[in-house]
Symmetry: C2
Subunit: 277 residues, 2 copies
């Protein structure tokens, strides 16, 4: 039985994950499981896991690592008490030899004993923080996908993983750019501070009206385009690496964890840190 | 020709590293290479590297990963233009089967093609930030080593790596504890916010006057003991793992990097981030 977004909105993270696990919901997760950290996903054989972790460590702004499974164990036990990575993401993309091969709602039949699952922080956290500070975000107000661009900024390679950094763009009122940078810098697991603002050409972007992913957003008067490192970067690096097999989430359909969105570290058992006198 | 601490103090990081590389300086690095990030070191065979990275990811407060070498490559190319991990640390501890076997100033003859080197952030960064905010630190004012304790807090295991969290203790004036927590939280690569303050017994510490490592510090009137996760934690985990071979720095004699101490990410080429308009 299929569940709608409207039905799930405002429900507990357990209820949302249950609907996802049972195959009743297979769409985007923005705004669901309110208050909980959401994550991008990458699953690959252990033979490539060390290089991928190095890639994440060397490129922490586009690839903020928030959870890593044990080899062959699908339970993401640091991110929640009962998160099974084979079933708890709404939609999965399966890549073979670097090319998208299938999109499925459950990867139980594809799971292997040598798989390692990686969860990577996403932009929802800092977007919520910006909105709480009164900085409006056009793509959210207009229910579109944030515009994303392949920039000219090189990532630091690791083994077969390499490529340009993908960035997402949000227009911010000129007088609030510094504040937006300071707020987002507080969330290193959600891409941190912007990598650039102002002239897009300086980071190799020719045409703001033609994003490589997502929807265009208008150039607003008195606003400055601000660019953050984007979680599509590791997906591009994974495609470049041409792994025989790799599984990711379908962009937008994220893993919802039990970690508090603004927790200092990505461990659900430490949500209530700062317990001193 | 041996160089003294006083001679190196105030000199450039290049000059300090040169003295270390040439075997002219083999002592503690606190206060040297001013303004640059210092790091703890762990070197091990690639067969254990993935589990160790998982251990660091799962325990980011005691083990804030700031750099990882390629397998067999001793150049820490994200941390500086010319950092050779075989020579650029003042003193190395060589562990065999989990036990300290030798302390040396150069590991060139021990380096292997399957070695991976890990640099982990240390407390100097947040200590400097606390002092800049006017919070005095007794162990620095009195030129002793910070007291460290084996706490009752379990780390999250990964493969053979496990153990209790080691914490360092600093007395902070009662009215400034919250501020100290907020300041240190800004530095996730330097252990972040405290893990506890107040009653030591709550985290399994019986006697503040008898630290497991370092020197005792007096209980000062109007002060609260504040506990931060400590970089000795991974050394204990490494000993517990009983690796056939593992090399660390000798505590206090750290790797000095070219990364700005307060940089957002541990990459020396990104020291001047925030370059937008």
């Amino acid at each position: 039985m299929t569940t709608t977004y409207e039905t799930l909105k405002g429900r507990s993270v357990a209820a949302v994950r249950d609907a996802i696990r049972n195959g009743c919901y297979s769409s985007h997760t923005a705004g669901l499981g309110a208050g909980m950290l959401q994550a991008n996903l990458a699953i690959m054989p252990t033979s490539h896991a060390l290089d991928f972790m190095r890639f994440c460590q060397r490129n922490p702004k586009p690839c903020p690592l928030s959870g890593v499974s044990d080899t062959g164990n699908p339970m993401m036990f640091t991110l929640g008490e009962d998160i099974d990575i084979r079933t708890d993401v709404p939609l999965y993309n399966i890549y073979r030899d670097g090319r998208l091969d299938a999109t499925v709602t459950d990867i139980t039949e594809f799971w292997r004993d040598d798989f390692v699952a990686f969860a990577l922080g996403c932009s929802f956290t800092f977007e919520n923080a910006l909105q709480q500070a009164g900085i409006r975000l056009w793509h959210i107000d207009n229910n579109t996908t944030v515009p994303m661009f392949r920039s000219g900024i090189d990532t630091v390679p690791a083994g077969p993983f390499s490529g340009k950094m993908v960035v997402s763009m949000r227009m911010v009122p000129e007088e609030r750019v510094t504040q937006a940078a300071e707020i987002s810098r507080k969330y290193p697991l959600a891409h941190g501070a912007p990598v650039h603002w102002g002239d897009p050409a300086e980071i190799g972007i020719d045409d703001l009206s033609r994003p490589d992913w997502g929807d265009p957003a208008p150039i607003q008067d008195g606003h400055v385009p601000v660019f953050w490192a984007c979680g599509v970067t590791p997906q591009v690096a994974i495609e470049n690496a041409g792994l025989p097999i790799c599984i990711t989430h379908k962009p937008g359909a994220m893993l919802i964890t039990d970690v508090s969105e603004f927790a200092e570290i990505p461990n659900y058992q430490n949500n209530t840190i700062f317990k001193g006198e």
